[in-house]
């Protein structure tokens, strides 16, 4: 009798584990409801790009989720459901194991900046004095393996997934995540140089020069800021994300204030995935003097917010160049597109990701996070950047050959423009 009870218990336990948890079902409902209640355009939800309504989608996925084998399958279905929106910034962020998910393993970094060029993941730059440079890594080298993880195969898989996000962004995040780890820990990286020769390097991760920032439910992230003087008279800043304003804005202000008499100024937003949208207009305040100038408008369902520029006392009035690429996302696009519209900046590089919807992150009942767009961004000239991106005034691609030659053609073009006798 006792054995029968145990067997019955095991049977029911098996049944219970062979279904998504109630928390994950509740999470599905919450995800659907947030979109239903907060998407900025209720008309869009009535007729999605595939002709169905968001209400139809609920009926279909509600049934599928309840029949899912487990939480993992349910999560896949939630992501699939969000893809029907065909808009950026709708994502389920989960700690559940996923080989293709960006995996941040610690604050330590190797000091190299990866870029997806064609089918390859290349080293775009190495930080002077950083672990990668010390190990002899050169710009233009292809990253082949990170601790045995096949990078080209992963890049191909990401591109084949047809996710909501730009593949170049995901591949970059994937590589940066795999290269991260505990400061002092080694990572084995296989590179391929310009002559197709393999170089296996053991690189010891170091604490990067940035600050650790955490905002809301987002995981802790390093905010890395770099400033230097180019060609003797041109200011240059690069930062990897629009977060930690207390630290970032202070450094940005100092960089501009120390360069008020410079011939030109360059802001490098290549690889920058965005962050706090309002920082785009705050930074624009160092370059736009006219009060009440707007960098565009955010349209929520019941609220319209103008990105008004707050002119600063530290005002740079000279030529401004902004560098962008396919991995310049969100706030980067708002800043570049907004200043391009105002004819205050000239944009160099390649078309941006076209993922420019301001978003929020909420926690779900099962502990997963849900990032959702809650507004549309329209630039001052009426441009929708979502799905279109910012087309540079001067389009230049970074190639493997240029990187191997130690050249940065995008930056060079910006500097040439700044130094041109007649602009």
């Amino acid at each position: 009798m006792l054995n029968m009870r145990v067997l019955a218990g095991l049977f029911f336990a098996t049944l219970l584990t062979a279904q998504p948890s109630q928390e994950t079902i509740d999470s599905f409902e919450k995800v659907w409801r947030i979109v239903e209640e907060r998407h900025w355009d209720p008309e869009y939800l009535k007729r999605l790009p595939d002709g169905r309504s968001w209400q139809d989608i609920h009926g279909e996925y509600s049934a599928k989720i309840r029949k899912a084998a487990d939480d993992a399958e349910a999560r896949t279905l939630i992501t699939e459901m969000l893809r029907t929106l065909k808009q950026s910034h709708f994502a389920l962020i989960s700690d559940a194991p996923d080989e293709m998910a960006p995996r941040y393993q610690g604050d330590g970094a190797v000091g190299l900046d990866p870029i997806l060029a064609g089918q390859s993941v290349l080293v775009r730059s190495v930080r002077p004095g950083g672990p990668a440079e010390k190990a002899g890594v050169q710009p233009g080298w292809e990253i082949v393996k990170i601790d045995g993880f096949d990078v080209p195969a992963a890049a191909q898989q990401v591109m084949a997934r047809k996710t909501l996000r730009e593949p170049s962004v995901l591949v970059r995040m994937l590589a940066v995540g795999r290269l991260s780890g505990r400061p002092g820990s080694p990572v084995q990286v296989v590179f391929r140089d310009g002559a197709n020769v393999s170089h296996e390097k053991s690189i010891t991760r170091a604490k990067p020069n940035g600050t650790v920032a955490q905002f809301g439910f987002l995981p802790p992230m390093i905010v890395d800021f770099e400033t230097r003087r180019l060609r003797g008279d041109t200011g240059y800043v690069r930062f990897n994300i629009f977060l930690d304003p207390a630290s970032l804005m202070g450094k940005f202000k100092d960089a501009v204030a120390s360069c008020l008499d410079c011939r030109g100024f360059v802001i490098d937003l290549r690889g920058n995935p965005g962050g706090l949208a309002i920082l785009a207009s705050t930074m624009a305040g160092f370059f736009v003097e006219e009060p009440d100038t707007k960098l565009g408008t955010l349209y929520q369902r019941d609220l319209t917010l103008r990105l008004t520029v707050n002119p600063r006392l530290e005002m740079f009035r000279g030529p401004l160049a902004i560098l962008v690429d396919e991995s310049s996302v969100s706030t980067s696009e708002i800043m570049a597109g907004g200043l391009q519209d105002l004819k205050r900046a000239r944009i160099f590089g390649t078309r941006t990701a076209g993922a420019a919807l301001p978003s929020m992150v909420e926690q779900l009942p099962n502990g997963d996070l849900f990032q959702y767009a809650m507004a549309n961004y329209i630039s001052e000239s009426g441009r929708t950047l979502e799905g279109h991106g910012v087309t540079p005034d001067v389009e230049i691609k970074t190639t493997k050959a240029s990187l191997l030659n130690g050249k940065d053609p995008v930056l060079e073009a910006a500097l040439d423009w700044i130094h041109a006798p007649k602009r």
């Binding site: 907060r38 920032a213 955490q214 905002f215 809301g216 439910f217 987002l218 977060l243 930690d244 304003p245 207390a246 970032l248 804005m249 202070g250 706090l276 309002i278 920082l279 705050t282 305040g285 929520q300 369902r301 019941d302 609220l303 319209t304 917010l305 103008r306 990105l307 008004t308 707050n310 600063r312 006392l313 929020m360 992150v361 909420e362 926690q363 809650m374 507004a375």
Partner: protein
């Protein structure tokens, strides 16, 4: 004792209100009575409030402190990941400073709005700030009937709508329009959990909806009539630099 007295007045007032619809002015005056009485409100000279501000759904939180002395106002919030956000009103300078927005002097409707907010006891002194209040009828708030009172600022600001619980006389909801450089932001506020502080009834929790965001403020301490050093209200150097620039600029004709 004061509490029982206030309760008796509230019950009597509620009974009287049951017979005849009150005027908007009576509702505002009743609020003063049920929250401690005119004398208790008038005795307040300074106010130091400490609170926790949270946008729970997004995991955003931080401590908030506000200071008022009847002439000046200062508020500081420290939000993890966003840094310090400060507002103030000092000798006619109405300002804001934050890492997110930078230093700024408020002007026009925004300045007028924050000058109103700086008044030590808006509820007691409403006659100085608003035109004659209007009755907006009755409406349920959280399932309970409430009187709706519309207050229009004398300075030309947007009307505020306040909802006073019919039974208790307490302010339970307000809808306001906040002017900001980003545009006018409508806010819907709920006032919850009234508690006694030094003879005054104060709502210790408010929940404000603004667009897609919902912000909760929970009061953790309230000190009344403690001296506040003048330096507390003095704007930071970045703001004073803007004031100096403004003063140096030739006046517009």
């Amino acid at each position: 004792m004061r509490r029982n007295g206030s309760l008796a007045i509230a019950l009597l007032a509620a009974a009287a209100f049951g017979q005849k619809a009150p005027t908007a002015e009576q509702i505002l005056d009743r609020y003063i009575e049920v929250t401690g009485g005119k004398a208790a409100h008038e005795a307040v000279r300074t106010e130091v409030m400490k609170a926790l501000t949270e946008i729970k759904a997004q995991g955003i939180a931080g401590p908030t402190e506000s200071y008022r002395d009847g002439k000046n106002y200062y508020l500081v919030m420290e939000i993890k990941g966003a840094g310090k956000i400060e507002y103030g009103s000092y000798n006619g300078i109405v300002w804001e400073n934050s890492a997110v927005m930078g230093p700024r002097l408020k002007t026009g409707a925004e300045k007028a709005f924050y000058e109103r907010e700086a008044v030590l006891d808006k509820d007691l002194n409403w006659r100085q700030i608003y035109r004659a209040p209007e009755m907006g009828g009755e409406e349920d708030v959280a399932g309970n009937p409430a009187y709706k009172v519309i207050l229009t600022p004398k300075d030309g600001g947007k009307p505020e709508t306040r909802y006073y619980d019919k039974a208790s006389g307490l302010l339970v909801r307000a809808t306001i329009v906040t002017p900001s450089p980003m545009g006018e932001i409508p806010a819907d506020q709920m006032f919850l959990e009234y508690r006694d502080f030094h003879g005054l009834k104060i709502p210790v929790r408010s929940v404000t909806k603004m667009g897609a965001a919902e912000m909760q403020v929970t009061v953790t301490s309230l000190d009344l009539n403690k001296p506040i050093p003048a330096e507390k209200f003095r704007p930071p150097p970045d703001v004073m630099a803007l004031v100096a620039k403004q003063n140096a600029a030739p006046a517009k004709k």
